[in-house]
């Protein structure tokens, strides 16, 4: 019997609440945010009660059989890392759910947003709690899909739709690569259970190990917006702000980091791992940090800052030291606690003043003091000013590299340290820039200053303020946070027990000196910001991922268009010829390689009955009449006769279900054809040219011969009676049904049927779209500018 672990229950409850919250149309209620925050708050509370047990190494597990025969199971594990991520997801989810109610006040699409938010939350919790690679993959794709829908939430804005599609294609392609990597790992380890893989002996010596690492890295890098895939994240900023704060800063983009952290113990000994993470993470860190300062849109700036932060986390994971493990854990928590609120504040500013443009904003600290103080604390944390949480994260980061440089890293170690310090300085630079330009200065730089005309309510600010308070207080409870959250998470990353050792004050160490130097350089960047912006905005326009990506995607469209013109041009008959000839060509190769004498033991003594001969003759005559028919109606009627004779054949061979199906399909087809052709003038068929007739004849003979030989081989193959016997014997006792055909369809082979009806439903949606002749894509204008004007058709 099934027992529900809170882990499974949380995920199922969120999925169940998702449609409910949509159907109550929450925009009608003024303070719905408080109700929407309850489910994530409950999950957060449950996770908090588990801290004690998990930090002592007593992990929560839950395993459900899925298809046990194949070793497939739904397995969940709550260890230190899963708990840390779970708290970030559910905790920030609570704040975001509260905030959303006020962000979308009176907006009728509030319910839709909530429903996506909950689905996302369920998938995200699924990723971090899964103890099975395949389950993890399913949840992983769940976040990609919900992220796509959230980015394209404003579905009338072409930028939002394009941004969503880019994000989806990049992350889904990476996800597929990752799936292949997971399969290689799983097959080599003999299990898809993550705990099993992490402890599998000699995994590193198994075949294709490096390939598996590269494929998994592709998944992680695309998801976590690493260079050169980082471009989708700034494009994702067209999502509503609560989604940007939640998905594209605090949680989903960290899924890649999570995966790397999770697989770290199994994979980190490979040089491929070290160099990929070092180079890609480092490049992302610097690129994001330097690019951010160029943007005037607060959200765009924060997006690049997030890219940089993700780079730092990946960079850290290259190293195999306790400093690095702790650094990742503290980095994840600190970043979630300052960047999430910053995004939410950007939304509040947008809501209150109607703009997010730095040039038009000024003096918000005095006009919105609560927002200002919240922003002040989170910006100082982002800058890494002591004693805020961000400072501790930066200290740990620098400490990792000092340790690496002094213990065998050599020159590489100092380069790495310098790169981290440069990134840190830019963090300081744009934190100060935001602080000064948005909150402190008296006069904006643009002509049309924005004013606060819609002051935020208390509950609107509460979510971000509460997160910032947690981030501000955390350093003062550092021993507790370290021992109960960070050290257990670090232990999971390292695959060995890591002791807590974080301190707020280490004395005047070289690390602190580097940190102070970064702040000083950051202040310089702040002073020189306008010059930097001018230099950076001169970067070549086409040198970015979006351009390359769109170019690639639209060349695929062009290629598809070309192949459509080549293969599917002209009449239906010529299109059908292409399909049939391709099938004939592919299968005649197989036919040529067969040993006729051995594979075709035809029993010539087994003669047909008179009825069979008559029916077969009738079918052949009807087919000839169809081809020679002068009017469409005649052709349709005689093709119906062909179908009916086949039906009677099924009856002869005692297959009543098949006969019924064939009969119904035949009737519906005939009526459909009549419906369609009835309205096509003229009623008589136009004459066909001789050459076309010859071609049709050749194709028909080929296709007919193919069908003939296929059937012959199928019956020539010795048929295993065991299968039929099994179904006959077990249909009634196991499946309580006497109709074996139906039992096979809905029970024994139910999974196949599920796939088939899914395909059917998708085909219906596709057919619907085709019949409405929707234009599928519009070429974006920025690709046309560098091309010759399109030829007139």
């Amino acid at each position: 019997m099934l027992s529900f672990s809170p882990l499974l229950l949380s995920i199922l409850a969120l999925i169940a609440v998702s449609p409910l919250i949509w159907s109550v149309r929450p925009h009608r209620f003024r303070h719905f945010g408080w109700i929407a925050a309850i489910p994530p708050a409950v999950i957060t509370a449950w996770l908090l009660t588990q801290i004690g047990a998990v930090s002592e190494g007593r992990h929560v597990t839950a395993v459900y059989g899925w298809i046990p025969q194949f070793g497939l199971e739904l397995a969940f594990l709550l260890d230190g890392l899963a708990l840390l991520f779970g708290l970030v997801i559910a905790g920030i989810g609570t704040a975001v759910a509260l905030y959303t109610g006020y962000y979308f006040e009176d907006n009728p699409r509030q319910g839709y947003f909530y429903s996506l938010l909950y689905l996302f939350m369920a998938s995200m919790l699924g990723i971090v709690w899964s103890d099975n690679l395949l389950t993890l993959f399913v949840f992983w794709e769940g976040t990609s899909i919900t992220s796509y829908l959230l980015i394209a939430f404003n579905d009338e804005d072409p930028n939002a739709v394009a941004g969503g599609r880019r994000a989806f294609l990049v992350t889904a392609a990476g996800g597929l690569a990752m799936l292949f990597g997971m399969i290689i790992l799983g097959e080599n380890a003999g299990t898809y259970n993550i705990s099993g893989i992490l402890t599998a002996p000699d995994l590193a010596a198994s075949p294709a190990f490096s390939t598996a690492i590269v494929l998994i890295l592709l998944g992680a890098f695309t998801k976590s917006a690493q260079f050169p895939f980082h471009f989708w994240l700034p494009g994702a900023m067209s999502a509503p702000t609560p989604a940007s704060a939640y998905l594209h800063s605090a949680t989903m983009v960290k899924a890649g980091v999570y995966l790397l952290a999770r697989m770290h113990p199994a994979l980190n000994e490979s040089p491929v791992w070290f160099w990929s993470l070092l180079i890609i993470g480092g490049a992302t860190m610097l690129l994001g940090a330097i690019s951010a300062i160029r943007y005037f849109d607060i959200k765009a700036l924060l997006a690049y800052a997030t890219v940089s932060q993700l780079g730092i986390l990946v960079f850290l994971l290259a190293f195999d030291s306790e400093y690095a493990y702790i650094g990742v854990a503290v980095g994840i928590l600190a970043h979630a606690l300052y960047k999430g609120p910053l995004f939410l504040i950007a939304g509040i500013i947008d809501h209150a003043t109607g703009t997010r443009d730095l040039r038009r904003l000024s003096g918000l600290l005095s006009s919105m003091p609560a927002v200002g103080v919240t922003a002040l604390l989170s910006l100082l944390s982002m800058a890494g000013i002591p004693p805020l949480f961000g400072f501790i994260a930066k200290e740990t980061l620098l400490e990792t590299f000092f340790h690496f440089a002094e213990h065998g890293g050599g020159l590489l170690g100092w380069i790495v340290l310098a790169a981290a310090a440069v990134a840190g300085a830019f963090f300081v630079g744009y934190s100060f820039t935001l602080l000064w330009e948005v909150f402190l200065r008296k006069e904006p730089s643009a002509q049309d200053p924005a004013h606060v005309h819609h002051a935020p309510s208390f509950s609107f600010v509460l979510g971000p303020a509460a997160l910032v308070m947690l981030g501000t207080l955390a350093p003062f409870a550092l021993p507790w946070v370290d021992k109960s959250l960070l050290a257990p998470a670090a232990s999971s990353i390292g695959g060995r027990v890591v002791e807590a050792h974080l301190k707020l004050w280490h004395g005047f160490t070289p690390v602190l000196m580097t940190s102070l130097a970064a702040i000083a350089v950051g202040a310089l960047i702040f002073v020189l910001r306008d010059r930097l912006r001018a230099i950076l905005s001169r970067a070549p326009k086409n040198l970015n991922g979006i351009y390359v990506f769109d170019k690639t995607i639209y060349s695929i469209y062009d290629l598809a268009g070309l192949s459509t013109r080549l293969v599917q041009g002209g009449t239906l008959a010529s299109q059908a010829s292409v399909v049939l000839l391709a099938a004939v060509a592919a299968l005649s190769y197989a036919l040529l390689r067969t040993d006729w004498a051995r594979d075709l033991p035809i029993d010539w003594t087994n003669s047909a009955s008179a009825a069979e001969v008559i029916l077969a003759t009738l079918a052949v005559v009807a087919a000839i009449v169809t081809v020679r028919a002068r009017t469409r109606l005649n052709a349709i009627v005689s093709i119906g006769v062909v179908g009916l004779t086949v039906t009677v054949f099924f009856v002869f061979f005692s297959a009543p279900d098949l006969a019924l199906t064939q009969l119904l399909v035949d009737i519906l087809t005939v009526v459909l054809l009549v419906l369609v052709f009835y309205r096509i003038p003229p009623a008589t068929l136009p004459p066909i040219r001789f050459r076309t007739r010859l071609r049709n004849l050749a194709v028909s003979i080929g296709a007919g011969a193919l069908g003939f030989f296929l059937v012959l081989f199928t019956i020539g193959e010795p048929f295993s009676p065991r299968i039929a016997d099994y179904f006959m014997l077990n249909s009634a006792p196991l499946a309580h049904g006497a109709n074996i055909v139906n039992v096979i369809l809905v029970d024994f082979r139910g999974f196949d049927t599920l796939g088939e009806i899914t395909v059917l439903a998708i085909a219906a949606v596709g057919g619907y779209a085709l019949l409405r002749s929707v234009r599928l894509y519009v070429r974006p204008s920025h690709l046309d500018s560098d091309q010759k004007p399109a030829k007139k058709e």
Partner: protein, 142 residues
């Protein structure tokens, strides 16, 4: 306006076809029939309605329900598969037996699954029929 005999046929045959569909569905597990076949019969009933009343009338009545119906069908099928978790694994069938006087009740998740198949088939076939019988303002080019 369609011919009189078609409208007459519609009056008489459509209810019968729907009843036959339900009959075929219910007997499907033990005798020829089942969700797929029942779905085709029900679609044939809609086809008759389209022929006799015109596609506009049928579309106005059922058109907007078709896609949700396919979704509900898929949910039924997937839900039946998920209910198998009660017995231990995905797609494991779950049966309920009850005796109500002379009535012998035997229902299980495969029946729910078959219902899903039925709904998807009805919805898909009917939307194709409606789509293809749509009257366009402009005549086809030949």
């Amino acid at each position: 306006m369609p011919e009189l005999y078609l409208r007459l046929l519609d009056r008489v045959l459509t209810p019968i076809l729907f009843v036959v569909a339900i009959f075929l569905f219910l007997r499907g597990h033990n005798a020829p029939g089942g969700g797929f076949i029942a779905g085709l019969v029900a679609a044939a009933a809609f086809q008759l309605q389209i022929l006799s009343q015109g596609d506009e009338a049928v579309r106005a009545r059922v058109g907007q329900h078709l896609q949700p119906l396919a979704g509900i069908g898929l949910l039924c099928a997937a839900g039946a598969a998920l209910l198998g978790l009660i017995n231990g694994t995905f797609f494991q069938s779950v049966w309920i037996f009850a005796e109500l006087g002379a009535l012998h009740i035997e229902q299980g998740t495969p029946v729910l699954f078959d219902l899903g198949v039925f709904l998807v088939v009805v919805s898909v076939m009917t939307s194709f029929l409606l789509g293809l019988s749509k009257r366009d303002e402009e005549p086809f080019d030949d």
